[in-house]
Every structure is written in structure tokens, then in C-alpha cells.
Symmetry: C2
């Protein structure tokens, strides 16, 4: 498993050294942000079968599905519980889908009982309220996919295996739903602060302009202009962000840290 873990917060600045989400966290984050996926199941004669499904997840990231027992995929799972779920990042029409993130969750499905049924039902209805119409019908069944292994693909030729246990214990990035808005705001209103971060904390004192390309709980990715041409770098939040609304405070703290470092001493 080529998974990589966040480094200590004191690691030197640079794209490769600064803490970043693990592949397990990337997978959990991507799955947490999606409500539709493609389910692959096996027909009675063992043929692979793809179908579109809505889904939710339990606390450990196990997907929850509600499938008609009359539909192909519902019948397929009753015959053979092996399944995988492909979840693709939502992207705009101008973006290349093969450059976007996606994850395959592979495992075995079961019909929950007891407390797991209640949890599965609740998770599903929280994300798909319209499922209330059919979730209790006799010809619909709840399924939970126990994930054994995970293939996360971050874009063209950028891919990592994650085992089921690492996937289950990883936490989705709490700031992911707010990251795009934060990046837009930083670029529109705080280009000066981004440049100071790049100069003081990103190892590029020669940077002449900076833009933020992405934000996550561990830091910001910046693209800078320098006399040598464009460069990518990353600056870390210390500490990393634990709350969904923590991105603003962390960015303010990072700006202050950069300004303190740039202030002439003596």
C-alpha cells in the first residue's frame, strides 16, 4: 500500500513535505461529498453489471443503498453479495473527468439488521429524503456495503490502494464543502496575503504573485509566479483544521505568521 501519511507540522516547506490528506482521507472525503454512484454487481451467470444508484454512508464510510428487489442490481446482490461502488467527484462541464478524483469501494453487501438497520435507514433518509416514499416498501431492501479495499484515483496516473480498515478509520475532511468558496474568496480579496505566505512560509521569497489552487484541512496549495517561471507550493495550517467552519481562522493565522516572518527584525 503506497498510502502516505501527514508529516509533522514542523516539516520544511515545499510541495512534497507539507502535510496533506492521506489517500484514505481523500477517499472518505470524496465519498462524503457524493450522493450518486455506479454500483457493479454480478448477474446470475457471473457477468459484471453496472447500474446508477443513490447512496449514503454509515459513520465508518460503509455505503448504504436501498434497491428494488425487482431491479437487476437488487436481484444480483441477492444472488451474490460481491459488489463495488464507483464514486466520482462532481465537476463542472469544462473540466476533464479523467483528471478529477474518483474512488472504487470494493467489498461485500449485506442486508442490515437490528441497530444497523436503523442507522442505515437514518443515513439514507438524511441524504435522500425522497427515499422515504419507498424505503419501507416490501419490494425494496436496504443494503450495506462492507468495504474490503479501496482504489483512490486522484487524476490521470495518480492512484493509491487503501485497505478497508484504513478507509473505515479515516475521517472525511470537514472543510471540504467550504473549500471552493474559500479559494475563490482568497483569490479575489487576499492575493497579497497569499503572496506573503508563499514568500515567508512556502520557500519562494522570490515569488511576485500567488494564487490559491486548493484548500483542505491541512493547508493551502499555491501557484506562484517567480523570475524562474511558475511554481507550485504548499503552506501548512498549524494546527490543522478540525471544524467545518475553521478554514477562515486558520487562514487568518497563517497570514499573521507570514507577516511576522517578513517583518524586518532589529
Amino acid at each position: 500500500m503506497a498510502d502516505h501519511s501527514p508529516h509533522g507540522a514542523t516539516a520544511p516547506a515545499g510541495v512534497d513535505d507539507v502535510p496533506r490528506r492521506t489517500a484514505a482521507e481523500e477517499a472518505r472525503t470524496l465519498v462524503a461529498g457524493a450522493v450518486i454512484a455506479t454500483l457493479s454487481t454480478l448477474t446470475a451467470d457471473g457477468h459484471p453489471w453496472g447500474s446508477l444508484v443513490s447512496f449514503a454512508t454509515l459513520a465508518d464510510g460503509s455505503p448504504v443503498l436501498c434497491l428494488s428487489t425487482l431491479a437487476e442490481h437488487g436481484r444480483n446482490l441477492q444472488g451474490d453479495p460481491r459488489a463495488s461502488l464507483l464514486v466520482a467527484e462532481a465537476i463542472g462541464p469544462a473540466e476533464d473527468p479523467l483528471e478529477a478524483g474518483r474512488v472504487t469501494l470494493s467489498g461485500s453487501a449485506h442486508e442490515p439488521d437490528g441497530a444497523e438497520t436503523a442507522a442505515a435507514r437514518e443515513a439514507l433518509l438524511a441524504v435522500h429524503p425522497t427515499a422515504a416514499v419507498y424505503v419501507d416498501w416490501d419490494d425494496f431492501a436496504l443494503w450495506v456495503l462492507r468495504v474490503d479495499r479501496v482504489r483512490w484515483v486522484g487524476g490521470f496516473a495518480r492512484m493509491v490502494w487503501v485497505d478497508g480498515r484504513a478507509y473505515a478509520v479515516a475521517r472525511p475532511d470537514p472543510v471540504a464543502p467550504y473549500a471552493a468558496g474559500a479559494v475563490r474568496h482568497l483569490n479575489e480579496d487576499h492575493a497579497d496575503a497569499l503572496l506573503e505566505m508563499a514568500q515567508a512560509l512556502g520557500g519562494r521569497p522570490d515569488a511576485t504573485a500567488a494564487a490559491c489552487t486548493s484548500a483542505d484541512r491541512y493547508g493551502l496549495d499555491l501557484r506562484v509566479r517567480t523570475p524562474d517561471g511558475p511554481a507550485d507550493l504548499r503552506v501548512a495550517f498549524t494546527p490543522s483544521v478540525d471544524a467545518p467552519d475553521g478554514l477562515r481562522a486558520a487562514t487568518v493565522a497563517l497570514t499573521r505568521q507570514a507577516r511576522d516572518a517578513l517583518r524586518p527584525s532589529g
Copy 2:
């Protein structure tokens, strides 16, 4: 097979009686409008595996893929050629994906040779020019999926099986790429003509307002207001449209037909 064929052009007006795309044509049209899909294959131990792929199609609708022999799906197909491809209609963020169209193409993949290789390569590069970078690399292979059976789902609980032969000979709707623009134009600038169509040709002489909800080579779907409440109906193009740019002329002809029918006689 519950497939339904277009009726004669002289069929009486009404939602169910007016010519409409067959399920095979719906499937071909949906597939022709997509460039990304989910491929379901089998791992070495027979587990179903979903992955995101770009694809193109040959003239008979057979999907063409170019897969790395190092990637899961490429290795899977080398081990077992059985596969299916789920193609989902592109929709806006506000739309419910489970109400949108999708199609599962199930069959067996093979590496083409001779003339089929050239055709597959050309089809792929026409849709995915960036594949020129890797299509001829040693560790990438072209695959053609021979489609044996097709499951078209037009929305929640609206689904039809199509056999591979019917899929192969059906033609994608040539006007599909222009339909959304035509619908917008009709609703913005020609609401009067739509109302006349509904009154004269759609069996609703009592309609007081009309909007177009979709357009295809066989006709227009209209939603009308009447003293009894809203109603859906369909009006047919006679003849149906064969050319990609034929929607405008067909709509003008339909308007003239409606006005002639409404003109006081004697």
C-alpha cells in the same frame, strides 16, 4: 422485450399514440451524447469492479475504450472479457440523477484487429483528441465492447430491455445535440405557435397556454394549461427529421399545419 416502435405518422394525436423514439433509439442517442462512463469488469477472483473510463463508439454503437494494461480494468479484461458500460445522461446540478436517463450496455470486450483497429482508433481520437498521447503506447490497448443486451432506464421506474441487434441497427437521434436550444427558443419566442399546435394538432382545442418540454426527431412534447388543469401532449413532425439541422424547418412546417387547421373554413 417491451420495446415500442414508432407508429405511423397518421396516428391520432395524444401522448401515447404519437411517434416517439424507440428504447433502442433512446439508448443509442444517450450513448452518442456521452464521452465518459463507468466500466464494470471482473477481477481475477471474479469480483465486480467499477472504474471511470472515457469512450467513443463505432458506427454500430459498440463502445471503444483505450485502457492501460497496468490498470485494474485493463488487467481485468485481459483475464475475462465480460463487461458492462453504464452511461448516464449529463444533467444539471439541480436535477435528480435518478430521474435522468441512463443505459447499461452489457457484452464482451475484444481487442480489435485489422480494419476494426483503424476504425476504433479513429472513433476514439475524434471524441478524445488527448488520447493521441497514449493510444499507441505499448502498455495501452484498444478494446471494443460487443453489446449483447441493453437496459435503458428513462427515469424512475421507466425501463426497457433492448437486444444487441436492435441496439446496433438503431440510429442516434440526429437532432439531440440541438434539442435543448430549440426548446428554449420555442418557449421564449414562439409560445403562440406552440399553443396553436396544441389546439389544432394535439387534441386540446381548450388549451389556453403551451410550453415545449422536449424536442426530438419525431415531434415535440408540450405541457398545456386548460380549464381542467395542466396536461401533457405530443405533436408529431410529418415527416420525421433526418438531418441534424432539420428541427427548425420541421417546427415551422408544424406551425403552418396548425394555423391551416385553425383557419375558419368557408
